[in-house]
């Protein structure tokens, strides 16, 4: 198709060059510069790589340390650790079932209450509210999400729990006392209090992530629905939610991870009684709470190891939950931003 010779020097019909060299800049020695720069870049790459990898090291160290520290308990109890209900530091019996139960029930119930509310709020902020109102609520929610959990706990134990005890729980006992969930005396500090406080705490998280996911829905998707004559609600159902489905699921799962790991607020309102009771009104206990309460005072090696093992379970569970959530959220937000990159 064109001339191209083996020498690779065929294309040089530049035979004349009238110009003579006016300035003798050719081949100036710059060796000093060169050596320094090469080492500089090499050190820089080394250093940043080291720092970046320390993230992986931290993660690995966490797993390694936790596994190592809980080894005595793992060895001694095996699966009984998960199925046993007996937690007695004096006798050296450690069964973590009540804590597992408390964690699962409180987190799942909180999530069931929080998710629909959060999705509703996120839809309102992104799709329904006037732009200005939406851009006021969104940062407000994020700001409130930044309130430390110990402050939620403070409010929970000093304000909410007494209110539950004097108002809500008597009402539930009177009206719904025939259900196993609402039996017993009103304590205030209870599983119910934990569920409420967790709900309040995870709502901002799920709301703001769902909002991000919804914002990532391409305008063209919505326009397609609108052009078909869909109402706003139908547009949301047809175009917005299906597109963001996996991302919203990721947001909810992330909320679950937060609820499972939430320590201070729950510890302050759940009553800290290692029992398994169907009633939401009775005190309960969760995995992070027992660590928070007992770890600093654990004397025996086995007690420490048992608490570490609870921590290890917590770590593994939250790692799985978070990994899952991130994959789901990345899937949605990546697709939409990918075009810009």
């Amino acid at each position: 198709m064109q001339q191209r010779a083996e020498t690779g020097k065929d294309c040089l019909p530049f035979t004349t060059s009238a110009t003579d060299r006016t300035e003798q800049t050719v081949g100036k020695p710059r060796t000093v510069d060169r050596e320094k720069a090469i080492t500089g870049d090499r050190i820089f790459k080394w250093m940043t790589t080291g720092f970046a990898f320390s993230i992986l090291i931290i993660l690995g160290l966490m797993l390694f340390q936790m596994a190592g520290e809980s080894w005595p308990a793992l060895k001694q109890f095996g699966w009984q650790f998960v199925t046993g209900r007996d937690w007695d530091a004096v006798q050296g019996h450690f069964g973590a079932l009540p804590y597992l139960y408390g964690s699962v029930v409180s987190s799942v119930l909180a999530l069931l209450l929080a998710t629909p509310l959060s999705i509703g709020a996120a839809i309102f902020i992104t799709e329904i509210a006037p732009k200005r109102l939406g851009s006021l609520i969104a940062p407000l929610v994020e700001l409130l999400a930044a309130i430390p959990s110990v402050i939620y706990g403070l409010w929970g134990v000093l304000v909410m729990a007494p209110w539950l005890q004097s108002t809500v729980e008597p009402f539930l006992i009177e009206r719904f006392g025939f259900l196993p969930f609402f039996q017993g005396a009103p304590y205030g500090v209870s599983m119910l209090a934990a569920v409420f406080i967790l709900m309040i705490m995870v709502v901002p998280i799920i709301t703001s992530i769902t909002r991000e996911v919804l914002l990532a829905v391409p305008q063209s998707q919505k326009e397609a629905a609108i052009a078909l004559g869909a109402t706003r609600w139908e547009t949301i159902m047809m175009a917005v939610l299906p597109y963001g489905r996996s991302g919203i699921m990721g947001a909810a799962i992330l909320g679950l991870g937060r609820a499972v790991g939430e320590t201070m607020a729950v510890t302050m309102v759940i009553g800290n009684a290692p029992q398994i009771s169907a009633s939401l009104l009775s005190p309960a206990y969760t995995m992070p709470s027992v660590i928070a309460n007992e770890f600093a005072e654990a004397v025996s090696k086995l007690h420490t190891a048992a608490l570490m093992e609870i921590g290890l379970m917590l770590l593994v569970v939250t790692l799985i939950i978070n990994a899952l959530a991130r994959l789901l959220i990345w899937g949605v937000t990546k697709d939409s931003s990918g075009g810009a990159a």
Binding site: R4, L12, T19, E23
Partner: protein
């Protein structure tokens, strides 16, 4: 005649894409060579290989030899940084450093490397700005922000910034494509003057511009060098059919 830059069977790959295919060209010293071709033909890719800008992309692979003053810039032990000091580059869109003053922009190449004597800096700024014919326009506001300049002035500032580090070769990647006609004309006049001191290689998709500013022209199509030679000849009696089609506007 002295060939300042020499490409010898250069192949450039991006991952699986073969962007530049077996290109060999000589660039004579103190001349302007234009690389033309339809967009996506690999002309920018080729240009950026001459000061090793591809080193920044792990997926890019450059094969063949690229010689500056007879030595291969891709040889082991050659520092890309020192190559870039000798082979400067001007980009498509003017990219002065925002929030740096005009003055600081001109000596940015030294400033970022962290050593500069004040009097020397003053000299360099004045000479460089004079060389790009910007001195008269900005000498009273050297300390003001460079972003306040017009697009054409910004581009001339960027050229000043490039020549301030005393390069031997200047690569220009469509330097006027983001500018208005008057600014474009100024840049073109500037190129004409600059070739007295530097070897200039300019990529452009504007054929009139190539015809106006360059001594030599190379036509690239689909990553391959179709034809190159003296600009006059390329634009009047091209040897290849494809070249003729392109310069007469029949494709691309």
């Amino acid at each position: 005649m002295n060939n300042k830059v020499q490409l010898d069977q250069v192949n450039i790959h991006f991952g699986k894409t073969h962007a530049v295919k077996n290109v060999s060209i000589l660039f004579p010293e103190n001349s302007v060579t234009a690389i033309i071709g339809p967009s996506g033909c690999g002309k920018s890719t080729l240009l950026r290989s001459i000061n090793r800008m591809h080193d920044l992309f792990p997926s890019a692979r450059v094969e063949g030899r690229i010689l500056v003053d007879g030595s291969d810039i891709y040889d082991k032990g050659v520092d890309p940084v020192s190559i870039r000091r000798r082979v400067g580059m001007v980009f498509q869109k003017p990219n002065p450093f925002p929030a740096m003053s005009i003055y600081d922009n001109v000596i940015a190449g030294y400033k970022l490397n962290g050593r500069m004597v004040k009097s020397e800096a003053d000299d360099i700024v004045e000479t460089s700005l004079k060389r790009v014919a910007l001195w008269e326009e900005v000498k009273d506001r050297l300390k003001t922000n460079a972003m306040n300049l017009s697009g054409g002035q910004q581009q001339r500032l960027c050229i000043a910034r490039t020549i301030a580090v005393k390069p031997e070769v200047i690569l220009m990647d469509e330097p006027a494509s983001a500018l208005d006609p008057i600014s474009t004309l100024k840049i073109e006049e500037l190129i004409e003057e600059l070739k007295e001191r530097y070897t200039i290689i300019i990529v452009t998709h504007n054929m009139q511009q190539a015809a106006r500013v360059s001594d030599y022209t190379a036509f690239l199509y689909m990553g391959e060098l179709v034809e190159c030679g003296e600009t006059k000849k390329i634009f009047t009696t091209p040897e290849q059919k494809q070249t003729e089609d392109y310069i007469t506007g029949r494709f691309g």
